[in-house]
Amino acid sequence: MSWVFLLVALPLGGGFLLPLFDKRWAERWLPRGSEALTLALTLATAGLAFATIGWEGIYRMGGWSPPLGINLVVDGLSSLMLVVINSIALLVTIYSFKYMEDYTPTGKYYSLFLLMLAGMNGVILTGDMFNLFVFLEIASIASYALVGYRRGAVELEAAFKYLILGSIGSAFIIFGVGLLYAATGQLNMAQVSRNLAGQGRGVIGGITAAFFLVGFGLKAAQVPFHAWLPDAHSSAPSPISAILSGVLIKALGVYCLARVFFNVLGIDEIEGNILMWGGTLSMVVGALLAVGQEDLKRLLAYSSISQVGYIVLALGMGGIMLSRGEQALASLALVGALFHLINHAANKALLFLASGAIEEQAQTRQLGEMGGLFHRMPVTGTTTLCGVLSIAGIPPFAGFWSKLIIIVAALWGGFYAVATLLIATSVLTLAYYMRVEREAFFGAVPERLQKVKEAPAAMAWAMGLLAAGAVGLGVLYLPGLREMVLQPAMNVLLEGLRYAQMVLGG
């Protein structure tokens, strides 16, 4: 599979090229050229991402074999993440055409967007600790700028806050990488994992784990470190909010936590507990904070903290079960985590896109000023309803199945307190999302919203496809499909040390 690098190289190339499209000659000779190029590139990466499903192996950069050079690793987990990231990026691109039309330098916007995509793909694909940091920084820096792209006072403040906290997170991560290098003399993840398995973790390994917990926890906005997320995600332009909440915090936070703890450091019971209780805390606190929000996008942002809490909780639970040797239960918890990751990516992207459509058409984000939008914007209303029902966990929708799996895993594993909190939070989630439906979509149309029209076709199509995902992604757990997508990804986490074997051979 000699084309895997294109997943990084194509968006990088687009990102390098697009700033030139802001020039006068490009506006005359290539009107909407930046949009067309971005669409072509995201289509290509989405296609490539789907083609990686079912493939497993490494790609050697520059022809140097693993411990010497940098290698890209494709396995079940990476292809799952790649598919999620690139397909949502494609839909968001389509949505952006209309939404970002009014903002002037479109070239720079799409350039930053593609660089962020390249950064995320690089993080997912890389098999090298330092390279992970480098691409994490690309994605983070691009997202700092994109958060402030509308450049009001609020947006710039949010971007600044995000920049400061994100940089602190990055500093923790680079410290961790440095310590790991001092302990093992290696940067290649597989070789680090093998060396650590040989010599034991020692003090440095423990401190490294703590650093990674804080650093990636900041990127994933887990509760003690969540302060930046509500501001950043609600101030960004809506397509960017969708990418940030939908995939960025998962690619830079959750995925890295999973990869580093399960495949490189090897998770133990203490870290599993930290992850699980941290996740539980995020889940509960995020949901409690979301209840009182008046601003639709802030509510969605707090809901993201809560839902990512579910994923981290399930990962930690899987880690505890693994270190206790309960393979079957661990596999259930991990499948729940990954399944919820997919569902939440689709649902939250959909909800943020819908909130953007409402903001664009009704010129408001306050729930109190909306009302009866179902009559005025039927497509947005229907798609939002699908997303809300799915994220709140109503039976036939996708979100229900992933939550059910996590709850069942918690009950079978004997974590009754966690299971109770899971159920309670689900009820809370349902409550605040129902409030959104009641205040924004049902009821009478207020005077000032009489002239509101439906969102443009491109935006509606993007939302519609995501809504189809919200309804239909549940099928991923059906036997035939489960072996294709979820099972390989779960196996990567379940058999942590097999990663080193796959990369290095022997």
Partner: protein, 154 residues
């Protein structure tokens, strides 16, 4: 820089005398990166310093006529694309992204300027890019300050 065009005569003269050697030194660092300590990153920084010196000495308005900050963006993208294209050629010729295809085909004599395959080329690309980036960083700071002084706060 708005009230007075550039700094005093002394600074202008010194800048005029010293900017071209700085530039040549940057080129030297960049081009011999594979032989001696140096390379694209330091070389690019030295380039940028040559340009920034001129801008600081002669004042924004006069220097920007010769060195428009928008033009730097072109070099920025160009350098980055050159790096990427070298990598892509490597993948087409040798089957691996960023493969050192020139070294495989035409190994130069070690310790001479034309050796080490793609490395001097990549150094040039990085030098261009870093120079343009650093120049734009300083110019962005300057422009931002000017905007702040004109428009009051924010």
């Amino acid at each position: 820089m708005p009230e007075k065009e550039g700094m005093s005569l002394i600074v202008k003269e010194v800048a005029r005398l010293i900017a071209p050697p700085i530039f040549i030194f940057g080129l030297y660092l960049t081009l011999t990166g594979h032989l001696t300590p140096g390379g694209g990153f330091p070389g690019g920084v030295v380039f940028a310093c040559g340009f920034i010196l001129v801008v600081l000495a002669y004042g924004g308005k006069r220097a920007f006529r010769r060195l428009p900050p928008e033009g730097a963006s072109k070099y920025d993208s160009g350098g980055a694309l050159l790096f990427l294209v070298i990598g892509l050629i490597g993948s087409l010729v040798g089957g691996h992204f960023l493969y050192n295809f020139i070294q495989a085909a035409l190994p130069g004599t070690v310790f001479h300027l034309l050796s080490a395959g793609t490395m001097p080329l990549i150094n040039i690309a990085i030098g261009m890019k870093v120079a343009a980036c650093l120049f734009m960083v300083v110019m962005a700071l300057t422009l931002f300050r000017l905007a702040g002084e004109k428009g009051g706060e924010s």
